[in-house]
């Protein structure tokens, strides 16, 4: 399509023209619409957007875990080191999950099995993928616990004996146990309070560098993006409406929706200024507006916006935006 970047060797993940729908009896939810994502080796991409924008669905497609039978991957490719995940057999997928790609789930309270010890849960992935004995796996599990800052002798304890932040560390240890090439972090700090958030982010950053992992960070918190990511994709109603490096998005944002997101953040230097919410609500995903999905809420709406879906415009080598306000040159109307 209109992706200018051609396949560069060494990309960990490439998602091309991905379309995912949830089909129920009488309606179709268009969760992901033509999403393109490239994550280079060792790089971190932030996927930012509101609840229901299709962030998690995109992430699940990387493991081919889009919940069936309603969830359907209509078209597109998900290439992990050049191999298409969507055409793999169940057996190939099982070998891939947890070994090459691991996922940190949103809520550590529910993503740990309450009746297994944390040691067992970390060891499980090792047993499956490394084909080692239970004893050896447990030994490595203890090392993983130490790595995330939990004393190894707590491996025999159950999740209820841990606090929220420690549980999330355990979840991280599970994800990293097999040292994956790609780590998907699905809002890893949403369920945690701010001080623990900072610790967990620090930990993720440290381990990412140590193992030279690529990472897909899903979040709705722009602060986290600034902290961890190299590149940012802003998702709205299943479309990536703006993509760029951290500098492109934070210092040089172009899309009215991205602008809206930043305007809605409190500013520590101008305490008296009011927050500007984006007017309206997310569109109903079963009935997306014609043309640009953002046009009913957009302050800069034009006639063309209501009729034609904007194409990707490349503003620089790294920065692309899906908006009619821009021609292919770097103009700044905002």
């Amino acid at each position: 399509m209109d992706i200018k970047k051609v396949n560069i060797e060494g990309n960990t993940l490439e998602i091309r023209n991905l379309v995912i729908e949830y089909v129920s009896d009488d309606e179709v939810v268009k969760a992901v619409n033509n999403v393109n994502i490239i994550i280079g080796s060792g790089k971190t991409l932030g996927l930012v957007g509101e609840t229901g924008a299709g962030k998690t669905t995109t992430a699940l497609s990387i493991l081919n875990l889009v919940p069936g039978p309603q969830g359907k991957i209509v078209s597109g490719e998900v290439l992990l080191e050049g191999k298409n995940v969507l055409t793999m057999s169940e057996h190939e997928l099982e070998e891939l999950r947890g070994d090459k790609v691991a996922m940190i789930f949103q809520d550590p309270m529910t993503s740990l099995n309450p009746v297994l010890t944390v040691g067992d849960q970390i060891a499980e992935g090792l047993e499956i993928h490394r084909k080692i004995s239970k004893k050896e796996a447990l030994k490595q599990a203890k090392e993983m616990l130490e790595l995330v800052g939990i004393p190894a002798d707590r491996a025999g304890e159950y999740p209820y004996q841990f606090s929220g932040g420690m549980k999330q560390r355990v979840v991280i240890a599970i994800a990293l146990a097999c040292s994956p090439d790609l780590l998907i972090a699905d809002e890893p700090t949403t369920a945690l309070d701010v001080t623990i958030q900072a610790q967990v982010l620090l930990l993720i950053n440290k381990l990412k560098k140590k193992y030279h992992m690529s990472m897909l960070m899903i979040t709705h918190d722009l602060g986290i993006v600034a902290e961890v990511c190299d590149e940012v994709s802003v998702v709205y109603a299943g479309h990536i409406i703006e993509h760029g490096t951290l500098e492109d998005i934070f210092d040089n944002l172009r899309h009215p929706y991205t602008k809206g997101l930043f305007d809605a953040l409190p500013n520590i230097e101008a305490r008296r200024s009011e927050l500007k919410p984006i007017k309206g609500l997310m569109p109903d995903p079963t009935n997306l507006p014609s043309g640009c999905p953002f046009h009913p809420r957009c302050d800069y709406v034009m006639d063309v916006c209501t009729k034609v879906l904007p194409e990707n415009k490349w503003l620089s080598d790294t920065h692309r935006v899906q908006c009619h306000l821009y021609k292919d040159t770097n103009n700044s109307m905002l």
Binding site: P69, L93, E95, G98, F105, T110, P114, E124, C178
Partner: protein
Amino acid sequence: MEDTAKKITTKKEFFKQYKKKSRLQEIWKMFLKNKLAVIGLIIFIIIVLVAITAPLIANYDNEAIKINVPNRLKSPNSEHILGTDELGRDIFARIVHGSRISLIVGLSSVAVALFIGGAFGAIAGFFGGTVDNIIMRCMDVFLCLPDVLLALAILAAFGTNLVNMTIAIGLSFTPKFSRVVRSAVMTVRGIEYVEAARAIGATNVQIITKHILINCIGPIIVQVTLYVASAILTISSLSFIGLGIQAPIPEWGNMLASGRAFMRDHAYIVMAPGLAIFITILSLNLLGDGLRDALDPRLKQ
């Protein structure tokens, strides 16, 4: 200084000790907190011990089987603590020996039901959709028949003996277990840790056995204890209507049946087996409730 250091090490050791405690010990501790459950367990253990040591307590041939007409319908006295029945047999001896059949058939029929019903229920609940529909509609067909009727049909077709009775009761309970296990599996299936297990590459079999069933243990245990009670009741019902354990062999149900003609004048004849059934079932229900609370780690502290 030295004192505090010493204190800290002992404290450390104390916590170490605390942490070293195995999961079983913790469950046991929780279980002991529930007084009613402990009473249930004690009663059940006594019943099991009585069943095991029955030949030592009362002579089977002389006291439980042998007809002794001159001695019939004796009220409880020092020689026969529960009296004698219409054929002069000692009721206490018959109750004691009757417990063996109730327990063996009760436990093994529930084992049959749990194994078959549990397997089908887990598969149906885990995969959902068409598989679920096919399995559960078949189970519904069985569920349409009252369990005593289903057991009756099987016994009438294959003859009455202990093995057939176990299978008959087991099969008639199968659909109930499949329903319970299915619903338990379905609630657990949607929880994030199952998705997390899938995300680290666990296979379906590993997910069902390691992550799902172990989290369903609470409702399953409760059902097991309740249905052991229910199975004991079914055995007694079958014997009561004459299709279960046959005449000279002592069984609580057929004791009730043969005693009911004399109920007006000699109430103790039916009271004893009735109480035996009642106490056994009560103890199992108390035990089941206690186990459920103890096995659920979410209820801890």
